[in-house]
Every structure is written in structure tokens, then in C-alpha cells.
Symmetry: C2
Subunit: 694 residues, 2 copies
């Protein structure tokens, strides 16, 4: 997989070779920010200059998809460079004089699992060649080419390079939950564009949950009429998304979660329920009682018709039936346990427990899904000895489950470790390898691991904030799923991520620009500098803490400080790194100490400015004490630096006061937490002489 | 129209009264930023506090539209305040305990010209009452209520107020040209939301021009297949927009421009043409030859079927047929002049000239439009003695034409003076009154002036930049068309516009947030401070200059400095105002001089920083000398201030050098112009002693 074939026209002596499998990605020229990093890359000295003579030709009889993709690429090149490129639409059989980029494909790609996505991209001073077996490979290669675009005083250029690239895993997905908060078409489309930019190829669309059924159904119109609060995709919109994704080489896998997460289904069709009475669409978060009745033939007739209708809308062979979070004992099982029909059914069919009952349901479901010519996927709860290995297991509860499934012969997909809704830092996801070097699996078992999916559950995101939870972190997950396992340098990942994040803005993604917009809304005016200084070092609380600290509903505002704050707060990370470098004595002289002092003094003085703004901005009241704490702990940092620099140790009274202040600052406020505290603690420790100096 | 009825429950002594017809709007509390300003407004001392107990009830049997609008309003209130409001969907016949806001309407409003949009909004400490004849009035009143929302240290409140409001003109429109650059659905929807926020009620959709036919046609599918480059609205999308607008009390008036601007029509159906041969969809800007054949019966049969199909898609009774820019003499007329059939037809029908020929065409068109139960509107070229006064004249070439039309009995709409694509400052549009006090029209003539439309022609806007050309300036046009004529204080308009602009961001409008995004793209990183300092005082060249300075096509990049730069550059305006105040001696002491000095020194030093960024950002090369000029003229400003403050006059050599530098700086670069030069010139003049000091 990691061989290098030296491009024969480039004399070896002129090459600087980068085999990212063996050497650190950090050794690539720092002007280059590819993400994901290709399998093989070799830099040469001969760059290709991009100017207004840039023209593209597509050789051979390519898929229509490729012409529109190349036209879009040409526009993006023009929009990023400001160059007035003369070529308009790229069409078949056009005469193109001295093309700059020649794209050659062998055949039309199929938008399906395992299709060839490899490509070879060669840039020399004379031109660019992009060769691929399929147009999907060409699409991936064009994204690499755009990421190679670099500028110097003479203008734009592509560095001389030979890239041979192919994905490590065939399933590289992003799941968007459009059920808990509905996500309008533009959110879906721009995220599909973002996926394509980082070579992801599966859009998993979570379309049905307790809080909403989000697809127009002609078979069961109450599903969207009663089950959606009026927020759903029409069938023509579904087709629009499928076509949009297809044009970008992306499969669309829908999910209709059954038999649990079924409140919206049952609100529309109470006859599906395991319990008597009616329910309304859920507006809270959690795991809820309503569950389909597995003992009723009506349930299967209903799902047969519904899944038949939905299967026609989504051409991809894979069909996700959810299957998660049906609790089989205790409280949550009471709808099954209290239903005499279900109890009778279990007795008649010798079904011992509710787990086996769900497995019975899943087998019936499998027959339905198979009848409609689909492959069934489900969350890892569907794994049961009675399930044939034709189903695909989507692992969310732990990688152990995935590996067991793979051992048993099930194909599986990893999402555990890619739950981007939990607001973890990027490196956690980045280093979460579906197939770590020491995995205990046979080759066949390894082959069953198809890849992974970033999962954007939508309890706490709105159309305004969802992009900032998906991006840029998902680009690092995309790299994990595409690039060789050995590409794992966290510092270099963060360096490249910062640039890729800005390029992702070209698709209309709002992860960067909505930050200040939300801050403006919080202050009600343009004066956001002091607020930004604080929120730059805040992150939302992690995991499932937010909902525990403050119960939310589907209509709670998602416009507070916690929503503006972003995962992996970059300013805090930079500060932590600088403190570590300082304490490790990595830089001589006092320049680093001076920089840290400058930053700390800025924070120290910030509350003075921000407190004035807080008094006229009621939504900021909840973080007023956090602002005070930032100033207080920054002051402790200033004092610590003073001790360290002067060689005097802090005394016991100072230590006590400092540690108490830091402890107080750890308390989340407004469901956010201050991210500079560990670094401040390190400074305090050093000021107390607790860590050996170099 | 301007009577005040004192609200009987509020003792007069407690009232501060604001009759904006008579006193300056500037006297309203500066915390209040209504736009448009209501017809009658009276502030009382009793505010209503908004907290989590806020609840809405709708009395009577209101239109369904009102329930969804009130629910949206509740969400916006929650999102702006961060308050967790407990009420979810507002539905008919709900029991609402102690409602905060009671909305009462008399009847369902019709989305049609002249429908009652009046409302009365009363805020007291006990609650809020919103009364309107129709739900459209209630929609307008809810926008006023949200604009009243104010914050202090205790939280959010609505000031005690009684507002009686109704529009001055019944036709308050925004035209978006989706033909020259296609505008995706999300652009259309967010702009409709923006319109509703400032009480506009007509979305005029320019759907067909030389560069594209943008609607799916089942009758003539080549129109969208060949005539659109694949960029068009499906019929279900059109219905979606019409419904979306209807829900916000906004009419949708489509425009299909004939017989000129017809390249896309003729590219799809060459048999419509006045000239032999075929054409392709136009990708340049300008006025083009292709024109429908008015002598061919096929043309009328075609338009009958097409307009019949389109008339069914758009429920509004008004139907815009364009009719502009068919040149009747010289070069542009040659397609008609060279066609023997057309010449024969003219002779047979005793048609003397091409003007009369177009009038003949328009009369045939009128019969078609009337047959499909629509009222015909056209640009002012359609005005011809032979046209009945049932048609509506849309004036773009001058207000004189509009007044003549009104005198002749035609209803008319003003767009001359509202061409927001020309990048004029807001006050020009704001002071452009459709019915100025001294207008020479009878009451009947005045009644024929229906209102106006801001017109967003799309040669130089993309989905990324269009919002910044529409907003916030269009809010001032909306005020001109809604508020009493006497509301005309430019300074206060700018004060309010600045706040309303931020509130418009709540609808996803990108006019604020895409500015820094475009700057980031230009520099390729986050370091945009120096670039922003320059672009903050640049504006795109005005009028039709941009295309003359640099020919563009439909696929030219719209991502350059000129596209990031915004109309009515606020920083430059603030500087001009400060210089005027300084020179008028309006502020005592040296504080203003010090502020000016601080700003000028910042500009003076800016090029030092920016020049480094320019060397690595090729798209900035075109404004490198502009950056130098900013520093140079800022230095002249610094020197001028020095002379003025010290009482010493600049000498002749200094004068010569200064004026030459300013003159050089006036040259547009990258189709932008530096907006601080008149103020610098004033400083220089004063430094030379040319203006009497106080």
C-alpha cells in the first residue's frame, strides 16, 4: 500500500521525497496543507504557475458528473485566485488549446461501496496530469489539486509533485441528525460540499426520531404532517440531495430508527404503539418509552410499505434501521412488559426476553429490507446471534463491540470515538483508529471494518451552529479514514486543520463566520472584542453534561455563549502549547515569557471592559463570574511568571489562594468551561518549585 | 394620516409624545431603533419586562399564517434574549394562562395589493396588546415589537408605548435578478425574511434575461434545459418560495422580460428570433441584439402557452413582462430592420417605426396576460399612447416618466433612485421620495403612485455578496416607502440602520459576516487586520463604472477586494462626520483632534503591515498602490491637523505635494475607490487657511 514509484521524468536528485507512511507529515513544506494526506507524495522542484491561461481538458468519454465537477473546480480556482479564467463550461468534445490540466479517466464510477477512488496527480512546470480509473478518483484528485494551490510574490502556483493516492477505508461518513433539530436544505448541501472537500463519501442522514419524522411520505402522510411540526424534506428535496451528493461522489444512506426512538412515528400512527393511548411529538431530549409493537402484524405491514417507499427514494443499497436504545429491562421496557398481547406473543413464540424479542423484530425487518433490495445496517444493538452476517453493524457504544462483530463475520463501521456532538478536542477523534496496529483481528476480520462515520447528533445544534460542531474537526476524522495509519502527527494535523478550515468557508460553511455573528447578537452591537477574548478560551461542557446542567427542549434557544463557544478552543490550545514550551525551556531568552505575560495581562484586564458590556447584555449575565475568573486566574499566571522569572518561590498563603481561585474557576458557568486552567496550574506548580527546572 | 389618538389608559402626564411627522425622529430614546418608523408613536413610562413567563395568545379565529408567524416570533425572542420560554407551538384554541402578548385580528388578510396592513401596538407594564384588522397587520406589528426589545442591567424589556401604524405606500418591493447570476433558494428565502423584518411586501423576481431562463417549464422544457446552464428553480421550488413569502405577508411578482433581453429564450427556441441562425446563452453583460419576432404568430402562441403556465405558478394578480431596453433605432434595431418579414408586417399594418412595433407587441402581450387573469406591469418603455391605463408602469429611467404616467392615469411604481446595484450611499436612496411634497400631481395622480422597489441587478453579485448589496441599505428604502414623508433625518437613519443591520443577521443574511470571510479568503489566513483597515474605507466604484473599467462575464470571480468592499463604507462616513465636526468647531478642547490624529496615524502606519501581506496574497496586488495612497493621504491629514492645531499655515510646496497626492489617490484601483479623500481635502484646505475658522 505504501510503495513509492519514482516518477521517471523527474531526476531523482531533484526530488525531496515524502513518504508520509514512514516520516512525519510535519516534514512537508509548511506552505502545503493537504488534508487528508495522500498515500504517496513526492515533491519535485518544478512548480506549475497558475495564470489566466489556465484551461482544463477532459480526455476520453467521461461521466457527465466529471464535466460539472471540473467546471465547479475551475470556478473555485478563479474565486480563490481572483483570476479571470477565460474558459466557461467544460463540455465533452471541446477543443482546448494547450490545456493546463488534463484529466483522464477510464470509466464512469459507481456511487457505491468499494468503488475505485484512486488517482495519480502529477504537477510539473509544463502542466498538470490527473489520471484516475473512475471519475470519483478524479473528483478526489481535484480536491487535492486545489489544496496544493499556493501563493508567493509572483502569484499562484502548484508545487511540482507526484501524488499516488487511494483511501484506506471505503466507508468515510458523516451522519447528520435532522430529526432532533430539522436542518434545512442549505445546511445539508454545504455540508455535503465540505465532505467532498475532504474526500468523505457517505452522507448518513438520520431522518426519524422521537422528535420528528422528516420525510414526506405519500404512503403515510400523517408521518410528515403530524410527525414533523411542519419541518420535513419533500420527496423532491430528497431527490435533490441525492443528486447533489451523487455529483460529488457521495452516497446517501438514510436512517429510519425503529423500533425505539419512535415517538414521532407513533404520534402519527398510534396503532403502531406497544402501549395504549396517543402521544405527541417529543420536544425533550433523552430516551423515551414509545416503541413499536413487535407482536403486531400491522407493524410489519406498515414498515414494509414505508420502507418500500423510502427505499425507492434512496438509490444506495444500504438502509439504516437504527435499532438503538431499546432498553430491555426495568422502566423503559414497561410498554412491552405491560402489553398482554406482547406477553402472549412472547409465550406463544417461546421468546424468553425482550432482547430476543427485538432480535425477532430485527429479523422480520431484515426480510422487509432485503425484499426492497437493500442491505440492512443498524447500531450495534442489532447484533444478536440470530442475525445473519449480511447485516452491517454500526458501532457506537465501543470499539470492542465492533471488533467482536468483525470477528463474527459482520461488516462494521466505527462511530464510537467520532461523536462530534460531545465537543471533544480534535486529537481524540484523530487518534481514534478503526484498525489500530495492535488490533486482534485476522485479515478477514480486518477486511470487515469498512471505515467510520462522524456523528452529529442534534440535541444542541441549530442551523446556525451545526457547522461549527462539524467543522473543522470532521476534516481530521476524514484524514483518519483516508490516510495511512501512520499519518498521526497531532501538531501537524492542527497546523493543516487551521488552513483547511478557512478553505471550507468557500462552500458557504458557517463554522468560522457565525462565531462573531453570535457574539454580535449577544452584545447587541459590534463591540465584541472583550467578549471574544473570553469566549476564545471557553468551550462548551463535554459529553452529555450540558443537558444535565440545564434541561433543554427542541425549542430552547441555541444562541447563548455556550453555542458561540467552539470545540477545541484554538486560543486556549495555543496558550497551553506556549506554556509547555516555556516550562520545557524550549526557547532561550525571555521572549516566550514576554509573550505569555502579554497574553495573561490582556486576560487580566479583560473583565474591566467586559463587565461594562455584561451589564447591558442580559444573556451574558450567566458568564459574568467566568469573566471575573479569567481575570483572576490570569493574574495568578502573571504572578507565577513573576516568581519563575525571578527565581523566587511563591509562599504558602499565595499557593492556597491561587489554588482555591483555580478550583473555583473550574466550575462550569452557562454550560461552558474555561480552558486555560491546566496551563495556569502548571505555571503555579513551577512557581512553587514543584516541577524540576531544566 | 398623522393624527395622534392618545391611549386613554395612559395618563397624559406620563407620556412623552413622539409625532415623527412633526418632530425629529432623533428625539426618540436613543436605545430605540425602529425601522421603518411608525406613523404614530407615543412613549409612556411603563415598560413591560420580558422574562421566562412570556406567553402569547391569539384571540379570535385567525388565519393559520398568524399562528406560525407568532411561533417564529416567539423563537426569535427566545434566541435574541437567550431566555428559555416555555411555550412551544402557538395553536388555535389553546388555553394560555396570563398571556404577555395578546394578538387580536378581525379577519384573514389577502396577500394582494392594498390589503390592510395597519396595526395598533400597546405596551404597558401589564402586558402587550397587538390589534390589527388583518393578520398582515399583526405580522407587521410583531416586527415592530421585536425591534422595540431593549436591554438594561435588569434584563430585557419593551418600553411602554402606543403605536398606531400603517404604510404610506401599498407597494414596497425588492427586486432580485436571479437571471444574470442564479441565486439559490437559501438566498431567496433569507432575503424574504429580511424584507418581512422591515415591512416590505412585494418580492419581484426577475427570472429571465439574456443570461438565463430560471424556471422549469413543462410546456417548453428547453427553456430551463438549454436556457439556464442547469441553474433554475423547479416548479416545486417556485411554489415553495411563493408559500414562504405568503407566510410572511409578501406577494411574489414574477418578471419574464420580453421582447428584448431574450437571448436565453432564443437560445432554447430559435424560432422566436427576429434574426436567422442560433445563439447561445449570453455570458457577458450589456444590451444584446436577440429580440423576439413581433411579426410572427408563433411568438404569441408561444408566449400564450408559456405565460399561461407561469401565471398558474404565481398566484399574484400582477405579472411583469419587462419590456425594457429594446432599442428602436441604430445598431440595436438591426434584427428588426433586417428581417424582411418584419418589414412587410410593418408595411401591411401601417406601423411606422420600431417604437410602434413594440407597442403593437405589448398590446398583443396585454391580451395574453389579461386572458390569464393577470394585470400587466412593464418597465417604463411600455408606456405608449396606445396602451390602456390598466397596465402598471415601473419607472427606472427617471421620476419624470413616472409622474407623466401617473398624470395619464397609469398606476406606477418607482425604482429610479432605488438601484441598489449602483453602490450609492444609503442617504441618496433614503431621500428619494416617490411623492415629494412639491410633486405636481392631482390627488388622483398621487393615488396612482403605488410605491417603489429596490432593484438588485445581478451582474456583479454572487450568492456570497448579494446580501451586502441589498442590506442594510434596503431597510432605509423600506422606511421611505412605509413611514411618513417627514421622517427624513439622515443622521438618525444611519444610527438606526447600524442596529437594524445586526438584527437582520438573525435571518441568516450574510451582509455582515461575509465581509471578514472574503477578507480571509483574500489573505488565505486569519491575519486580516491590516487588510480590513484599508477595505473599511474603500467602496466599489459607483454606477456602471465597474464593467467599463474591467469587462466581466457571468463566470468572472466575485471574490476580489471590490466584492468584499461594501457600499456606504461606515468607517469612511464616520471619519467624514468627525472631520466636519472638528472643522465646524463643534467640540471644545483637543479631544476630537486627538481622535482624528489617532485614526490618521493608524492609516498612515497601515501600509507597513499590509504590504507584507500583499506580497504573499496575489489577489491583493491590484490594491497595493491604494494601500500606499491611504498611508500617504493619512500622513497629509496628520500634517494638516498639525498646521491647524498649531495655527501655522501650510506653504505652497506642501500644498502642491499634498494636492497632487490626493489627486493620484482618486484613481480607482481594482475597481474600488478610497472614500476618505473629500475629508482629507477639507483638512488640507483648512491647513492652508482657505476656510474661515470659527
Amino acid at each position: 500500500m505504501l510503495q513509492i514509484r519514482v516518477y521517471r521524468l523527474v531526476p531523482l536528485l531533484l526530488c525531496r521525497m515524502f513518504l508520509f507512511g514512514n516520516v512525519s507529515a510535519g516534514e512537508a513544506p509548511s506552505s502545503i496543507s493537504l488534508m487528508p494526506i495522500p498515500e504517496n507524495i513526492m515533491f519535485t522542484e518544478l512548480a506549475f504557475r497558475v495564470d489566466t491561461s489556465f484551461r482544463i481538458v477532459i480526455e476520453g468519454n467521461a461521466h457527465e458528473r466529471l464535466y460539472s465537477a471540473a467546471t465547479r473546480m475551475l470556478r473555485r480556482l478563479s474565486e480563490r485566485t481572483g483570476l479571470f479564467l477565460p474558459q466557461d463550461f467544460i463540455v465533452p468534445d471541446a477543443e482546448v488549446e494547450s490545456p493546463s490540466l488534463t484529466i483522464t479517466t477510464q470509466r464512469a464510477g459507481n456511487i457505491e461501496l468499494g468503488e475505485d477512488e484512486s488517482y495519480v496527480l502529477v504537477v510539473s512546470s509544463r502542466g498538470i496530469g490527473l489520471n484516475a480509473e473512475t471519475d470519483l478518483g478524479a473528483l478526489r484528485g481535484m480536491e487535492t489539486m486545489l489544496q496544493l494551490l499556493t501563493a508567493d510574490a509572483q502569484g499562484f502556483y502548484l508545487p511540482g509533485v507526484r501524488i499516488e493516492d487511494r483511501p484506506r477505508f471505503p466507508w468515510r461518513g458523516l451522519m447528520i441528525d435532522a430529526a432532533r433539530h430539522f436542518m434545512p436544505m442549505d445546511v445539508i448541501k454545504r455540508n455535503i460540499d465540505g465532505m467532498a472537500a475532504v474526500k468523505m463519501n457517505v452522507f448518513h442522514w438520520h431522518l426519524c426520531d422521537d422528535q420528528g419524522f422528516r420525510v414526506e411520505s405519500k404512503e403515510f402522510p400523517k408521518l410528515h404532517k403530524i410527525g414533523s411540526d411542519g419541518l420535513y424534506y419533500t420527496q423532491s428535496q430528497i431527490k435533490e440531495v441525492v443528486e447533489y451528493a451523487d455529483n460529488r461522489g457521495i452516497r446517501v444512506v438514510p436512517e429510519f430508527d425503529v423500533p425505539g426512538h419512535a415517538t414521532a412515528l407513533i404520534a402519527a400512527y398510534p396503532e403502531l404503539s406497544s402501549a395504549p393511548g396517543t402521544v405527541t411529538v417529543e420536544r425533550k431530549w433523552g430516551i423515551f418509552y414509545p416503541v413499536l409493537n413487535p407482536a403486531s402484524e400491522y407493524t410489519y405491514e406498515f414498515l414494509d410499505r414505508l420502507f418500500g417507499e423510502m427505499a425507492d427514494l434512496f438509490p444506495d443499497p444500504f438502509f439504516h434501521i437504527g435499532g438503538d436504545e431499546v432498553e430491555h429491562t426495568g422502566h423503559s421496557a414497561e410498554h412491552w412488559d405491560n402489553n398482554p398481547d406482547i406477553q402472549r406473543f412472547k409465550a406463544e413464540n417461546n421468546i424468553q426476553d425482550n432482547g430476543t424479542l427485538q432480535s425477532y423484530f430485527n429479523k422480520r425487518l431484515l426480510a422487509i429490507v432485503t425484499k426492497h433490495k437493500k442491505v440492512m445496517i443498524g447500531w450495534d444493538e442489532i447484533l444478536h446471534e440470530a442475525m445473519p452476517t449480511s447485516v452491517v453493524i454500526h458501532s457506537w457504544r465501543g470499539r470492542g463491540a465492533m471488533e467482536r462483530a468483525a470477528k463474527l463475520g459482520y461488516r462494521s463501521i466505527l462511530s464510537n470515538g467520532y461523536y462530534i456532538d460531545l465537543i471533544q478536542p480534535t486529537d481524540i477523534h484523530y487518534l481514534n483508529d478503526p484498525l489500530p496496529e495492535d488490533v486482534q483481528l485476522s485479515d478477514e476480520g480486518k477486511g470487515n471494518i469498512l471505515g467510520g462515520e462522524a456523528t452529529m447528533w442534534a440535541e444542541f445544534v441549530s442551523p446556525e451552529t451545526i457547522d461549527s460542531r462539524i467543522w473543522p474537526r470532521t476534516a481530521a476524522i476524514a484524514e483518519r479514514l483516508w490516510s495511512p495509519r501512520t499519518v498521526a502527527n497531532v501538531d501537524d494535523m492542527y497546523r493543516r486543520l487551521d488552513r483547511i478550515s478557512l478553505q471550507l468557508e468557500e462552500h458557504g460553511l458557517t463554522h468560522e463566520k457565525n462565531y462573531e455573528m453570535l457574539l454580535r447578537r449577544l452584545t447587541g452591537d459590534r463591540d465584541i472584542a472583550a467578549l471574544k477574548t473570553l469566549v476564545d478560551v471557553l468551550e462548551p461542557v463535554k459529553g452529555y453534561v450540558r443537558g444535565r446542567l440545564k434541561p433543554h427542549t427542541s425549542y430552547s434557544p441555541l444562541t447563548r455563549v455556550v453555542d458561540a463557544a467552539r470545540p477545541d478552543a484554538a486560543e486556549a490550545r495555543r496558550f497551553r502549547i506556549a506554556v509547555d514550551r516555556y516550562l520545557a525551556g524550549l526557547e532561550s531568552g525571555d521572549s516566550l515569557a514576554n509573550s505569555l505575560m502579554y497574553i495573561l495581562r490582556g486576560w487580566k484586564e479583560n473583565h474591566l471592559h467586559l463587565s461594562v458590556i455584561i451589564t447591558r447584555s442580559p444573556p451574558l449575565a450567566e458568564i459574568a463570574s467566568m469573566s471575573e475568573d479569567l481575570s483572576r486566574v490570569a493574574d495568578i499566571g502573571v504572578e507565577s511568571l513573576g516568581y519563575i522569572q525571578s527565581g523566587v518561590r511563591g509562599d504558602v498563603a499565595w499557593e492556597k489562594e491561587a489554588l482555591e481561585a483555580i478550583e473555583r474557576a473550574k466550575e462550569p458557568r452557562g454550560q461552558t468551561e474555561l480552558m486555560i486552567l491546566p496551563a495556569i496550574e502548571k505555571l503555579v506548580a513551577r512557581a512553587l518549585g514543584n516541577i524540576p527546572t531544566k
